[in-house]
């Protein structure tokens, strides 16, 4: 089996995987990072979004081997274990941007990518358009949109890149 090495949440990891192993399977089954979820099998729902080299990607549509040498950040890597939450995480809690929580990790990782691309001042229209790749069945998006706007505002300009790296 081919070996794969990458940096996940700041830690170097390696594993022997079948070529057909998806990044999300590598994260969930090999590394036991189960915060990244699988909600569909056609790359629509966005529950599996992580950052690969700082850019949001659907980890269900990437092979682990494609991420050889990459820096991957998952929801588990956004905040230090005993440190404060990331402002975007905090904003989701503060604004009731989640209900069942299943889409939430993907939503938060996508939200950070929106900030990376569109900055800290986000209007409702931009957020709604940019959430095209993430489906939530619980919230009707109302509070997710609010949470992302608030979280973006509370993020220092540099912090997105930091989180991504």
């Amino acid at each position: 089996m081919p070996a794969v090495s990458m940096t996940v949440n700041g830690k170097a990891v390696t594993g022997d995987v079948e070529a057909r192993t998806l990044l999300v399977q590598f994260l969930r089954e090999h590394l036991r990072l189960t915060g990244t979820h699988v909600g569909c099998d056609t790359s629509q729902c966005g529950a599996c979004v992580v950052h690969v080299d700082g850019i949001a990607a659907k980890s269900c549509t990437l092979l682990a081997l494609q991420c050889e040498g990459a820096k991957v950040t998952t929801i588990e890597g956004l905040a230090e274990p005993n440190g404060p939450l990331h402002p975007m995480q905090e904003a989701f809690r503060e604004n009731h941007g989640l209900q069942c929580g299943y889409c939430t990790p993907g939503m938060i990782m996508s939200a950070l990518d929106i900030v990376r691309r569109h900055g800290n001042e986000l209007d409702e229209h931009t957020i709604r358009e940019q959430l095209d790749g993430n489906i939530c069945r619980c919230t009707g998006y109302h509070n997710i949109v609010k949470a992302i706007a608030a979280g973006a505002k509370n993020m220092p300009k540099a912090s997105t890149r930091q989180a991504a790296e």
Partner: protein
Amino acid sequence: MSATGIGAAVRRKEDFRFITGSGQYTDDVVRPGETRAVFVRSPHAHAKIRSIDVGAARKMPGVVDVLTGAQLATDKIGNLICGWMIHSKDGTPMKMASHPALAAAKVNCVGDAVAVVIAETYEQGRDAAEKVKVDYEVLAAVVDPAKAQAPGVPQIHPDIANNTIYQWHLGDAKATAAAFAAAAHVTKLDIVNNRLVPNAMEPRAALAEYDAGTDNLTLWNTSQNPHVARLVIAAFVGMAPEHKLRVIAPDVGGGFGSKIFIYPEEVVCLWAARKLRRPVKWTADRSESFLTDAHGRDHVTHAELALDAQGKILALRAKTIANLGAYMSTFSSSVPTYLYATLLSGQYDIPSIYCEVDAVYTNTAPVDAYRGAGRPEATFVVERLMEVSARQMKIEPADLRKRNFIKTFPHQTPVIMAYDAGDYHASLKKALEIADVKGFNKRRRDSARHGKLRGLGFSTYIEACGIAPSQAVGSLGCGVGLWESAEVRVNPTGSVEVLTGTHAHGQGHETTFAQLVSERLGIPFENVSIVHGDTDKVQFGMGTYGSRSGAVGMSAIVKALDKIEAKAKKVAAHMLEAAEGDIEFKDGKFTVAGTDKSATWGDVALNAYIAHKFTGAELEPGLKETSFYDPTNFTFPAGCHICEVEVDIDTGKTDIVNWTAVDDFGAIINPMIVEGQVHGGIAQGVGQALLEGAVYDKSGQLVTGSMMDYTMPRAHDLPSFHVGLTETKAPSNPLGVKGCGEAGAIAAPAAVINAITDAIGTEDLAMPATANAVWSALKRATPRQAA
């Protein structure tokens, strides 16, 4: 109001684990030696199984075993059942076809499982599943519920004539006919309530483990009601005695009804785990979810409303054909009957109602409760009839509603329900203001200048929640009681665990229930934890559906807290050397009336356990109480939703430009969570109206079988919502709460379609009102004179 008590928008306790990725959903649970189950499913909608050859599959790498329906029968694993008996008009019981967890002789829908591969890894299981050879004799399929009973159509279950499950009715046919004969105006509508796929974001999953040493089975699953699952799997499927089966529903990623039911995969995983002495896990991929989760709605209805010349409703009648799919799912029989026809009175004083419902089998996935379950269908019938009647009679839609609102309570409708409280004028009035209905005509003219058609649609809905008084549902055929249980355990240090028979899968019970306990006992919110979802921890409970967790589940907690307080007062009386009757309890403090003697909550809790101040003969040590609460009535949330749309004439695309929801949910524990429930419900209702629709082709293939073809509402399909509340307390439970989980999904479809038909000037529009559908309707229409 304290910062964390009743009425406060407390931030949720459960969120920390979800926003940090540390939630524990079923697929996240791993057991040592775990195997994976991969199901072999029928690609045909209707076929006889001539033979199944698993020989090649067994030899594939990593395969532990391949099991079939024949073995399931040999092992005497029973069928899945429907737990609500409905009788036809002629008194005969409904026709429930046998539903084995693995089909052995015949498949009746695409996705019907015929074998299961148990393998070391998921991919190995899939490799092997391809090697299972099933020889099918393909039969013609029946898909359209409106044609399922016709002579000559394929018969799905051999001993069930005309694919007919029951022919049921409710109401007074004669009185209704007489009222129609005397009517000045009759409105007639043909309605298809489109079939929906629930699509909770977490796919269904099951993990079963067998302990040979104790002969105990454990099932982790994505259930809204683990105790009911255990009961059915023990008592009907006969998997194991109830006390040898533990069901754990950990974090569950949304349910919306689809996770109430007991499904074949859970049964098969348990059976295989015991047979193979290895834990067996199955997690649906979304393609499987589309084929095998119970779908929702799917009614074909002809409905009529009789009115006098002044617009007073005289009678309503409806004839509905309900598609229940290939098999009867756990509660499917109740949805188009007692959860539907009983709500056909809406918010209106209607003297006579008559409803006939035929439930039919088709070669499609089973249909059962989906957010609102019957009530969205009823609301759509009633609110479309109201809107169309208003237009035909040239009465303002809001006025027609006002003329017919029920104004005094209690009110007995002609269809069983006794509404106990409400103020329908209040919610309509508030909604009219928030939606700025006065300014609509100007907005409509502005839209017209930009080539857009603007429309306004109302939906003044009612629902029955707090499901339900056991005696009442028992008399209607329900196989279980619908009370709820609670256990309150006070620890020696004064912290509290509440064990509830309800189950949360996004509703925030850990927060709301803790607010209730914190307020009632005067203890910090942080010192309360809510435990649910594990049959080994929690006493029997009925689970969460039908917006019942507040009205029934919290009421049980209140009753248990009453008992806790009574016991604690006894302990305090011993501690403070006072008469029990002189002890007062307020804000977490026990005082002796008229003195400055007091004891804190913590002191009393500790004393209850150390028992130094009383003997066991006088008072049992400990502080733990249980309650089983059975409601005395349904609750009746109601409200007014107003949808404003703009339709692009060129493309037919509809944009929802404004949404107003004013709901009366009775007393509110956490307004933030309640509003969130409203938002989510509206989104699902808008989804039904504009975007979603499960389509089977004539041969029974699900052609909207993925999120590429089945449109899930996305953020840009929806606006921000304006949500308001009015309040009349529910008299039937101690908190006065009514339930909020389904309101949006119930109200929204009618509001959307009323708005679009207002915009385009024709009533000839089916759901989902896609751009293509609206464009076609516009082309067909002879435009009504714009208001």
